[in-house]
Each structure stands twice: as C-alpha cells, then as structure tokens.
C-alpha cells in the first residue's frame, strides 16, 4: 500500500450509471490484475474502494470503472480533468495468472467485469486462449464486452431481461465442462455462488465488501474461510475456490 496523489485525466459515462475514470500518477504498486485503490473524497469520511480496470506503467496511468450507487460515487461522476485525488494505491492481492491453464474462463457480473480487462491482457500476453462470460441486468448496463473482444477474447453476454445476448444469468451462458481449464470470477455474491456451484474446475473469486479502512486494520470486512477468517481488503479480495465458505 502506498499513499499517493492521482490526477483525473478523463471521466466518461460508459453504461447506465457506470463511469470510466482515467487517473495519472505513480502506478508502480499496481502489480497484478484484480487489485484496488481506495479514494478519499472531500467531505466523505470513508474512502471509496474501487477495483482497477487497466494499468499502463509506461504511460503512468490507470483506469477504474465505477457505478453511481450513492452520494460518494455521485461526487466522483462530476469530477473533471485536473482534479487531484488522495488515494491509497496497490491494495489487495489480485489474481494469480499462473494457475490459469491453457484456456481460462473469465466470469464477470455487472461491475465485476471491470478488473477482467487487465486480467485478460495479462493472460493473453502469457499465450493463453481466453474466453469470457459477462452478465448484466439489461442491455443498457452492458460494458466491457467490445473491448475484451478487440483484445482477442471470445466473449458471451447474458442479460436477465434478454435485451442483449443470452437471456438469463452468467451461468446460463457458461461453456460446458471441458471447455475451460480454470475460472476467474468477479461479481455480486449470488452470481459467484452460482458460478462456484457450476464450475467444473478450480478458480479464483474476487469478493466485494463494505470496508472501513481498505488496508487490513479495522477488520470491518472479515469473512470466514476454510483456513480461518480473512480480510477481504488485505488477504483478498481474491480467494481460492477451495478456501471459500459461503454464508447462508
């Protein structure tokens, strides 16, 4: 974790209530896909933890994708280029691409699609054949499919109302067992629980949580795992399939 200042370079709407923000500054601590940053907002006491969508180390920038769900993210959506942000960067463990096998499958639910872009780039760079299934509520919510396709990822989309892609959930568009060697998932807990039940291989699952500090101090985001309690912010957000305990 490093405290740093990022400068907003771009901030644009890419789907219903969903924005992509590009931030310039030191990105050297963002070493793996699936890590996150924690942004201090003027007048809000807690920072906003947001997963990293892409990093360009040479260009000195990163991008995040966020959804307006409350007053803090509403503030963010109004920020213009040049705005300086106090950020704790390089948080979380991130995905481990060494486990992927030859044909990894990426599964994203809603905003959980965001970190899959950087993950796909890394896997493709390591010579893997990458496919992805992205799930959204409706066509107006879809983002990230085109950019993954242009990287060379084979992408399927599912929407709950059937207005884009397959009608149904991510699991309704998942390939059959044997079609992939490992899964990487990020999304709401019910979606990941469904993927967990359906997936025929090992996998990594990136969790969301309401956080206090975002760096492991407050124990606000602890979850039970097979190996004892873990902090989503510091020991996660990515957990191995074998260690996950689902709360009922």
């Amino acid at each position: 974790m490093v405290e740093t200042i990022y400068t907003v370079a771009e901030n644009e709407r890419i789907a219903r209530d969903v924005y992509k923000m590009r931030l310039c500054g030191d990105v050297s601590m963002l070493t793996a896909p699936g890590m996150f940053i924690n942004i201090a907002l003027p007048g809000r006491y807690l920072r906003r933890p947001i997963s990293v969508h892409d990093v360009d180390a040479d260009g000195g920038w990163l991008s995040i994708v966020y959804k307006v769900v409350g007053a803090g993210t509403d503030d963010m959506s109004r920020m213009t280029a040049g705005t300086k942000l106090d950020v704790l960067s390089g948080l979380g463990n991130g995905f481990d691409t060494s486990k992927s096998g030859e044909r990894p499958l990426l599964l994203g639910g809603g905003l959980g699609t965001a970190p899959l872009y950087m993950l796909a780039k890394k896997l493709l760079g390591e010579g893997r054949r990458v496919s992805a299934v992205l799930g959204f509520a409706s066509a107006d919510d879809v983002f990230g499919a085109d950019e993954l396709t242009s990287l060379g990822v084979s992408v399927a989309v599912a929407t709950v109302d059937g207005s884009a892609g397959v009608r149904g959930f991510v699991t309704d568009a998942m390939p059959e067992a044997g079609g992939y060697t490992f899964t990487y998932s990020c999304g709401p807990t019910p979606m990941m629980k469904a993927v967990y039940g359906r997936a025929a291989t090992g996998g990594e699952y990136s969790f969301e949580a309401r956080m206090g500090c975002g760096f492991g101090a407050c124990l606000g985001c602890s979850v039970k795992t097979v190996g004892g309690s873990k902090r989503v912010c510091r020991d996660g957000p990515v957990l191995e399939k074998e260690e996950i305990v689902w709360d009922d």
Partner: protein
Amino acid sequence: MGRLTVELCGIELDNPIIPASGTFGFGYEFAEYYDINILGTFSFKGTTKEPRFGNPQPRIAECPAGMINSVGLQNPGVHEVIARELPRMAEVFHKPVMANVGGFSAAEYAYTVSLLDPLSCIGWFEINISCPNVHAGGAVTGSDCRATGEVVRAVRAVTKKPVIVKLSPNVTDIAEIARAAEDAGADGISLINTLLGMRFDLRRKKPVIANVMGGLSGPAVFPVALRCVYQVSHAVKLPIVGMGGVSSAEDVIEMMLAGATAVGVGAANLRDPYACRDIITALPDALDKYGIKNIKDIIGGM
C-alpha cells in the same frame, strides 16, 4: 525529557499519542508504512479468552464526519495472540505496549490478564468494559457500577501492572462509573469508547449494520469525548487517556486541556494510515503556536 514527554501510570511516554485499540491491529502492519516506535505507545487489538470471529457483515457504515463499526471483538484469542501476534509485534515495536482485554465475565477478564501479565512487552492493561457490539442492544458491563467494580477487582488481583479501565459514553453518569473503577483499584481511565448509533439503507429499508446497531467514532464524537474527559477528570484522581474523534495536533491539545494525560487516536488511523505520525510531527509547531512550552503543563488546563 522532551517537550512532548508525559508520564502515564509511572511509565514515561515520548509523546502522548496512542493509536486506539481496534484501529491498529498488533502494529506490525502499520510498521510497513512508518516506524511505529515514534508513538508514545499503542493499544493492541482487543483480546479475549476464546477466539472470536465477530459479527456478521456488513460491519461498517459511513456517517457525517465519522463511521459506525460493528466488528464485535474479532480476535484470535489470547493463546494465539501470545503465540503469534506478540512475537511479530516485538520484531517492530520496542516500547511497552498497552494490552487491551475484553471479556464476558470477571473471571474471563482475569484469566486473559493473568496469561498476558508475565510478558515483559506489556506496560499497561486497558480493560475494555465498554464494547457496544457484543451484547444484544449494545448493553455493556461498564454501564453498571457494581459490575465495573467486580471486573476491576478481579483484574487487580492478578496483575501488578497498571490497570486502565476503558469506559463507555453510553451511560447516564460517566463520572459515577469512573469513581467505581477508581474505588476498585484502577490506576487509570481511558475514554470514550464508541457511541451507540445506527444508519438505514434506503434501498433495502433496513439497518446498514447486520447487527442493527454499532459504535460511532470519528470527528463527529469529539465534542462528546471532550465533555466526558472533562467530567471524569473532575471526578477521579487517576490519569486519563482521552480519545474520541481526535484527528489533529490541535485536537490533542484540546483533549489534554480537558484533563487527558495521554491521547488515543482511533478512526483517524483508518482513513489515513499515517494519521498518528502526522499528528506527532505537527505537535511541536502547534505547541509553539499556542505558547505552550511542555505538553504536560496543559493537562487539565493551565
């Protein structure tokens, strides 16, 4: 003796700044960010006899100028704390530490303190009789003079180290509880623990916190904390660790004017991991600005 030096129950502190229990773990993770030996000391994560996972999610809610937590005394239990956490702490922190102890009966507090007592790294005990997150409806041992006295006497019987009793503000008369702790043999008082509060999630129309209520901390509670420290400092002769919403060197000075000998910093560490370092760095200039020679001179007002 530097100008920031204070003495807390017979042990000298290089400065009055003490990260509060539950916001600083066992220190070693903060030691990755700065040298934590610059602190006066710190109060380690509340430790109980048995391991505790704590409360269900969500445990955190944002508030105007603060936050609510309902962690629920998550800790690995005293045996694991001694076997794993304190050795890791000792690698990076070389001053006496404050051992924060929680419990569910006087015997349980005494058991945990008796196991920690022989460890030379422990300078003080901070007895938490005021966590709002472990009993239904936020009830605490520290809302009752008789129960407070019982816990303090049980702990007093098993250690000669200074016993500091951490009080809840969620009581009718905090001075009365402080006097009960003093009468039972406490060496110091720390306050305030969090204020019981709650928030609703408008989308679900349910409380944000799974456990319904939680403890409010942050700058929002600072004036309440000052008032409580002031009242207790006039009710007992014991030194006070004042805390509640302290976020700046100026806040430290106010807290000491109210009667605190040392000052805890809690929620500020969670928003900014460097908060305590920055407060300590800013203190000398703040003393100059307000014409204060030595910080200990202002304890309880000039």
